[in-house]
Amino acid sequence: MTSTRALMGSAAGLALAAGLATTASAAEITIATVNNGDMIRMQELSPQWEEETGNTIEWVVLEENTLRQRVTQDIATGGGQFDVLTIGNYEVPIWAAQDWLAPLDDLPEDYNADDLLPSIRQALSTDDTLYALPFYGESAMVMYRTDLAEEAGVEIPDSPTWAEIRTAAEAMTDQDAGIYGICLRGKPGWGENMAFLTAMANSYGARWFDMEWQAQFDSEEWQAALTDYLELMTQYGPPGAAANGFNENLSLFQQGKCGIWIDATVAASFVTDPEDSQVADSVAFAQFPNREGVDNHGNWLWSWNLAIPSSSNEMEAATDFITWATSQDYTRMVAEQEGWRAAPPGTRTSLYENAEYQEAAPFAEMTLESMNAVDTDSPSVQETPYTGAQFVAIPEFQGIGTAVGQQFSAALAGQADAEQALQQAQSLTQREIDRAGYGSN
């Protein structure tokens, strides 16, 4: 009893001393972040950083789309409301090119930037300078219910084709019992259904644009991809799929309503979490499917990153925070508190070499494999004038992707067929891209 007291007393004294020592440079930083589980955990752990440094944090936590709008609007108009931004690897190179982000060239020695996964590091760097630090990263893979597969007598290989996925989905579907063979994203948005559909199209050998920047929705590959997607979802998918995004599908899968779910690798730690997931101990993983004969597994690469706008007045404190939140120490801290399975995945090689993590996270190997298979320079097997992954790395993509996503979502809702949706997508994409002046030179 006494010893605990003494311990607490000295800890408080230490914190106080630390506080006093840094009062002179105490800063208040405003952090904008998305309301995903990992970020909320960061928010919960951050008082520790505040105590160590004497700085304070104002949090702005918003739903993903709202966050993106607020942050983009602020940085583009130089509003200067935030010191740390949470942005995707889509934005990082585009914003870095506008000098909107502070270059992170003098990171502390012990940050160990060489430990970052090569594909992630490449995505966040311009001319070998990092402009954001990765908080967690993801590719995409197949998650499925082993119990249902067994019951239905189907097997999903480690590297399935779309045809195999369809067979399995069909066998697992039992609509009377409220079990849907496959759950995929249908909610419109460039980061929602279009992330999935672009990856799926990649794995069918399709591309968004040919080398003259002509939209390619009239190609056989897109046609095949969209038709198969619609058939899969209308026959074996849940009702209301046109409104389901990542979160909705996650919740369906956790409730045991999905046989197969193909989505971001980061979902693996949620569906295997016995506290939230009713199916935690009967989930297995496989690589993102491909069309027979096409050597492409979707090329999905996403990371949520912390970056500092060049307009920030609290550069030093902000840098200190983002290195703290993306460090190996932070990972360890999460592991100590919540177990290794909850460690933010997909950013550091050391995590995947950690025996404890491998032990706790059955999805570790498949995640790493998927992430390493990504090549952001050539997202499709065909030649492309753009780089990217499950997105096209041009500023106009948000607008175009969301508009196309609306068309495909409408098709899923049964308001148009694949043919019509593709035609609409083709003409609106071409309209936008011509206006932006691509391919005219």
């Binding site: 983009t72 583009a76 419109p188 500023p395 948000q398 969301t402 609306q406 979502s409 308001q415 003409s427």
Partner: protein
């Protein structure tokens, strides 16, 4: 009747409101008109060249534009129809003698206090969701397949949500008007053997005319720029099925960050809103002068 002196004083008293609103209208509007003539995209900083009416032709030729105009009118019209009819019905009902009027009235007006974002979130997730929503459960109990409201009938669903929010407002105004009705007149009619329907149709309804116009005027102002409900529930989809003008402008300005086109869209929306306004003002003017 009014003296020279009081007229001057009156002008002096009105001035602050007028000046403030004029500034509030003209400065942003002026900037919006100016931006609408530029090629101005937030994501591509640099000089913003003058492009004349290019943004307008781009906005007006957007395939979603026509749908947006029609949807805007349907949304306003649909909600008005439901809230006015429902409001009359409720006002008649609440005007009857009953037990627990106070509590009934509190329950009926409560939706008006709920934030649009909250009501949209609650309806979307807890009621209309085809898997976990309460409606899906009810359908299941009745042996019907779950109806996917926001996908199958997005605009109608949004009209429903918005009507729920505005029904209390209409009810309150209509009820107050109803209660101001001279009860002797009604009693006389009753003595004469008029049916309750004809008492409603020939006495109550005409009496409510002014209140109905007021409800239409005030609600239209708010309904023309419905945004949160669409943003939260359908994001304008599927396809463009539930997009309205406000939302279309939003897509340009905050999803494409194309300030030029968004400004052009804003100007178009203002013009269209004013056309609606002129109609309304005519109607109101006639009804309120009396």
């Amino acid at each position: 009747m009014a003296t020279q002196h009081s007229r001057a004083a009156a002008r002096f008293m009105i001035a602050p409101s007028v000046v403030l609103l004029l500034a509030w209208m003209l400065i942003p509007l002026g900037m919006t008109i100016w931006f609408s003539l530029l090629r101005y995209n937030l994501l591509m900083p640099g000089e913003n060249p003058f492009v004349g009416f290019e943004n307008y032709s781009y906005f007006l030729s957007d395939p979603a534009f026509q749908t947006a105009v029609i949807n805007t009118l349907l949304l306003v019209g649909g909600v008005l129809l439901i809230t006015v009819c429902g409001g009359i019905g409720l006002a008649v009902l609440l005007d009857q003698p009953m037990w627990g009027t106070g509590i009934v009235r509190i329950m009926v007006i409560s939706p008006f206090f709920v934030m649009p974002t909250v009501s949209a979130l609650v309806w979307k997730n807890m009621f209309m969701n085809p898997v976990n929503g309460l409606f899906a459960y009810v359908a299941d109990v009745l042996g019907l397949p779950a109806y996917d409201f926001l996908t199958a009938a997005p605009l109608a669903s949004i009209i429903g949500i918005v009507s729920w929010q505005w029904l209390p407002f209409a009810t309150l105004i209509l009820l107050t008007a109803m209660q101001s009705l001279d009860s002797e007149q009604l009693e006389a009619a009753e003595m004469d053997g008029a049916s309750s329907w004809s008492r409603f149709y020939y006495i109550k309804l005409p009496h409510l005319a002014r209140a109905i116009t007021v409800v239409i005027l005030i609600q239209t102002i708010f309904l023309l720029s419905i945004f949160a409900e669409i943003y939260v529930t359908t994001a304008g989809g599927p396809g463009n099925a539930s997009i309205n003008l406000t939302y279309l402008v939003f897509q340009e300005s905050l999803q494409r960050y194309d300030v030029g086109t968004a400004s052009a869209g804003g100007v178009v929306a203002i013009i269209l809103a004013n056309i609606v306004a002129i109609f309304l003002m005519r109607m109101i003017g006639k009804n309120l002068d009396a």
